[in-house]
Symmetry: C2
Subunit: 671 residues, 2 copies
């Protein structure tokens, strides 16, 4: 849909683009840091894109059927901030541009989701934007399949740089988008042939266009400074049923006469003289941070158009028989209903006491979740049967049928995680996806963005320790619990049985601004939990699974598959006359957030032994001085799980021995 | 070079291949776990590859000029173990095959470097093998440029599966290999159209051959069960100057009549009946774990051929005027010479006391290192000027000239790290490479393999905290120190000044089996260190930078850029009458390895305050109960570095206040 006919065609897009260039170079100059080259190079293409194509309403930046625009080359943030200012976003005043890259401003060095209206996703780590956009474009098609063109009919536009397309994640994203035929995804590649180190020829000889074509994309190349040609190619891209790459050959730093076309414009201020020369060369006669009224007006017309389109959409929504369902899709899950359904489920488990792997427990919980929450979207990075992520009645999304609710992400952990961020950011669907915990490393940069952006994406990560057995140390996480706990704003759950697993799912789903990683066992585990009324004990982070009462001799603290080890050790020690508490600690972050009194009552004053089939890092905080830790001190090994637990000494016998050593009363011997 | 003419052509390669198939299915059956499908599918291609092309000497598996063979699809480990057994590797007895996937056997679930002779690299995490092989192939060309065809003239062969080629890292590897024109790299793609979840059509529509061609590769497709055709394509691949993809269309689980061609053969035993049916179908009449003499003999002929070729090479080496230099390249660095050079350098620094960023300190140290060690190979993932990794006189490697010693890895952190693993594994060169510390996440799976394999790769990771300033939270590591410390067998260095940085380089270079991550500041830091004679204090992990003598009131422990914060706090508190020790702790892992007495003398008995611009995870171990930690509690922000330090409260003032609170004597007030 080329919207230019609705626009005042007298306006000179060249001057509209120059406004972006001037604001970008001025803001970088004021900040004494930043990246002027990309905004100056892509100003023409971005102007055409917004002037003629993008539907966006600055007065309601979160309108559900807006086009999504992702600046994957996030270092060019001034392009986005300039656009938002010129379009009339209320929170993007000229003063914000003046305070580019200053503490407390909305104009952070890289675009940060939540810092200013209309920033669709946080970018800067290269490749994340394009991969996140794939999730957005997928959401659009899935919601379109549910709600039709009347309610869901928008594009996802991306500006990506050479760096984005060099990163491996771009391969996963491009392949997935091509496979699913996400025709509403249009990527403008800023083909400026420059990276930080110099010309791209230093490090790549790839035929980028052939590469995208190989992945099933529509590909078209254009002079990125020829605005009419850019418009024509974007229109072609819209018409093509495949996702589109528009390769825009540009000059980085366009307009800076002495530096343009070189890496000198990439990541540093142009300098006072070159800025003056650029003004001269561009014919931009206005002082810094000033844009003449008529150019501002031309930009504001775009916003007004968007406001009208949005109002029309709102009328359609009001008339739609699906209004209620659509609104429900956008809302958080019904927490009370979810709690009731999962509490029932937990009661059943406490009665039946199944011995199942927590990955199976997760599947059991998901059966309840997926029949309670209508907009769950599951998936796995090619480990569906191992991650137990596909419940009865789910069916896969394909390019021919987007009504499904399960994504075969392929062997693409990173692409999956970024796509889930995109699904979450888009709104309307709740994503979860599975892989092995060891491969959390493969998607860590995208998990970090879930956390930084506060998106409640749910990572189902099975095979969570040496307990996976024969696949050996490459597949056995030993440091991953610690490394994920190190990341701010992530709930790392390691449930001990199917009951705790169901509880973890509830917390993860109700969390508004925190992603969750569910670390689940491959091996079967007994149901250890008895009922606690309706209370979700996992929401406490840690709790007394076995409480010996007032006079405690020893506290054993464990997580996940090692809780049963601690329980067995406690039984042995109880037989020896010790009063032993067992603390199950499925989520440290939630426990740390409890009140001090509660924490103290759980941890007690007695000596402590920690048990976890992972490295010790981080445990000292919970164990204190008179304590011991039973876990891993290095990488795992290949062998049957039981052999490995014995080999690495993670046994009830050893825990009991450590506990006895710490808690023994003088003169008594351990039997 | 087709070596088949030297071979007994009467031998039936079909039976040689069936020997692999039988051993693979028998071993998986015995282990009750494993992946029979891939070895059975690729047995024909692998037989042709080894029988007619690979030069390998089972009696000297580490012979420098051997061909490298990387099983990137590492789950098919039985292919490799069967090959090694049949070729006559002494440590790969039939008993080892019987004990496949058992604890203590050499036949781990996935091939583990160091567990058995001839395993060139650890594989299993998909995509790592092919990306590591790029480093091996690059090493070959670089050493060839130095030593000529007489001494260095071999191929790197890879078997990769669909999963390897879906992973993002494969994009980085393929692009880099194509760019550098690594013509000695030949990848056999096991194009069996099956992944774990089912047919590849579930998740990909990529034209893999077009994709490789776009990256500048020679591409040829073949029926992977047509051995003559496979031989012809490998010969073509050898002749082509570009890296080659040989797309082998195969049937996964070839020979298992009821399961072949399906994902049922991928990752589970075939079952007794299907194994029997496969024997029938293949005409393999021998009992489990038995291979008839004449087939064993046919395989052993390959080894004998390799032994002869190796002996000829050894004669060439003995006659070569470059013998001494070649042997020196393969040896570890001259530790005494390195120590002397760097000790001189440190003395100069202690005299001159420069105020420079530790990334600059690293460059200063590297100037010394690179002029002392002849086989250093530097590089950066497109951040050369920011990582300060290129010293004077280094010149880049290009496809036209492999005499250089600097690699422009492009925006490919993961590909870089894996390539460095390959360079390190190949032998002959010592790799280091740079990126920002925040992007350690992008290459974490490859760092993990450095650690697991015990390869002393050196990661130069600059911009190590909020101290990088305006780029904001996406670029500011806060959890990365903790997450890297969590990983076994990694030295995480965070030096406080140029002196400690030089010391860290020395330890990293002398380490035989441990990779190092050097976490370096963007911002300038004063030289804090005075001389300690010649002793490398960083090798101690932590040490008393300021020692108040016997009666200590307080200990401040800090790393990197926060050591100067601790020193300033100590100065304030000293003015208030407290005896304050300052501990610089540049490497926790080395400190943990010191004797208990030394650790106790450093940490002292007084209350402690820890200071680090990162999260607290892990600090409790060093701080004990009467302590405080000053650092980050969440993600960073965009702004000038000084503003951020104030905003997050990582200041001498706050450290002093915390210290005073903990150490104050009754009745005294903090001024």
């Amino acid at each position: 849909m080329n919207l230019v006919a609705e626009h005042n065609e007298i306006i000179d897009e060249a001057q509209m683009a120059n406004a972006i260039r001037a604001l970008a170079m001025d803001a970088v100059e004021a900040a004494k840091s930043g990246h002027p080259g990309m905004p100056m190079g892509m100003a023409d293409a971005a102007t055409v894109l917004f002037n003629r194509f993008v539907k966006i309403d600055p007065t309601q930046p979160n309108w559900p059927d807006r086009d999504r625009f992702v600046l994957s080359a996030g270092h060019g943030s001034m392009l986005l901030y300039a656009l938002h200012h010129l379009l009339g976003f209320q929170d993007m005043s000229m003063d914000q541009l003046r305070r580019f890259r200053q503490l407390g401003s909305r104009t952070a060095g890289h675009p940060e989701f939540g810092h200013a209206a209309g920033i669709e996703t946080t970018t800067g780590p290269l490749g994340q934007g394009i991969a996140t956009a794939v999730g957005m474009a997928l959401s659009e098609r899935m919601l379109n399949a549910r709600f039709g063109d009347e309610l869901v009919d928008h594009h996802t536009y991306v500006i990506a740089g050479d760096g984005c397309l060099m990163e491996g994640i771009s391969h996963e994203a491009i392949d997935l988008a091509g496979h699913l035929g996400l025709g509403r995804l249009i990527v403008l590649w800023d083909d400026n042939q420059i990276t930080i180190d110099g010309p791209t020829s230093l490090s790549t000889s790839l035929d980028q266009k052939a590469r995208f074509a190989a992945a099933g994309w529509h590909v078209v190349a254009v002079d990125g400074h020829d605005r009419e040609a850019v418009a024509k190619t974007i229109a072609e891209a819209q018409a093509d049923p495949r996702p589109s790459l528009v390769a825009c050959r540009t000059i980085i730093g366009f307009g800076a006469p002495n530096k343009q076309g070189t890496s000198a414009t990439h990541g540093a201020p142009l300098g006072k003289e070159e800025v003056a020369a650029a003004r001269e060369s561009l014919g931009w006669i206005y002082p810094p941070f000033e844009v003449p009224e008529e150019i501002v007006h031309a930009w504001r017309v775009i916003g007004a158009r968007g406001t009208r389109i949005r109002a029309e959409w709102q009328e359609r929504l009001a008339r739609s028989p699906q209004q209620e369902e659509f609104v429900a899709h956008l809302a958080p899950p019904d927490a009370a209903r979810l709690h009731a359904a999962l509490a029932d489920h937990r009661r059943r488990l406490c009665g039946e006491r199944p011995k199942v792997a927590t990955r199976k427990g997760s599947e059991l919980a998901l059966e309840v979740v997926n029949s309670t929450i209508p907009n769950m979207v599951g998936g796995s990075a090619d480990l569906t049967g191992s991650n137990n992520t596909r419940t009865k009645g789910m069916h896969p999304v394909t390019r021919a049928d987007f009504t499904g609710n399960y994504i075969h992400y392929g062997v693409r952990e990173h692409g999956m995680a970024a796509a889930m961020n995109g699904i979450s950011l888009h709104g309307g669907l709740r994503p979860y996806g599975g892989t092995f915990l060891a491969f959390a490393d493969y998607c860590r940069p995208a998990i970090r963005l879930s956390a930084l952006m506060g998106r409640p994406v749910i990572y189902v990560m099975t095979h969570d320790s040496i307990g996976l057995g024969e696949d050996g140390p490459t597949h056995q996480p030993v440091e991953h619990l610690a490394s994920l706990r190190a990341m701010p704003n992530v709930y790392v759950f390691r449930p001990a049985d199917a009951v705790e697993t169901a509880e973890a799912w509830e917390v993860a789903l109700v969390a508004a601004k925190t992603p969750s990683v569910l670390c689940l066992s491959r091996q079967d585990l007994p149901t250890l939990r008895t009922e606690h009324g309706d209370e979700n004990m996992t929401a406490r982070g840690a709790y007394l699974l076995r409480d010996p009462g007032a006079s405690r001799d020893l506290t054993l603290i464990a997580t996940g598959s090692e809780v049963v080890v601690a329980v067995e050790a406690a039984d042995r020690l109880a037989a020896d006359g010790l009063a032993v508490a067992v603390v199950s600690a499925p989520c440290w972050e939630l426990f740390a957030a409890q009140e001090a009194d509660y924490r103290a009552s759980v941890l007690g004053e007695a000596p402590r032994v920690g048990v976890e089939a992972g490295v010790a890092l981080g445990w000292a905080e919970w164990l204190g001085s008179n304590s011991s830790f039973v876990g891993m001190t290095g990488f795992g090994a290949s062998g049957p799980a039981a052999d490995l637990y014995n080999h690495f000494g993670i046994t009830a016998e050893r825990v009991a021995a450590e506990g006895w050593r710490l808690a023994r009363k003088p003169g008594e011997e351990h039997k």
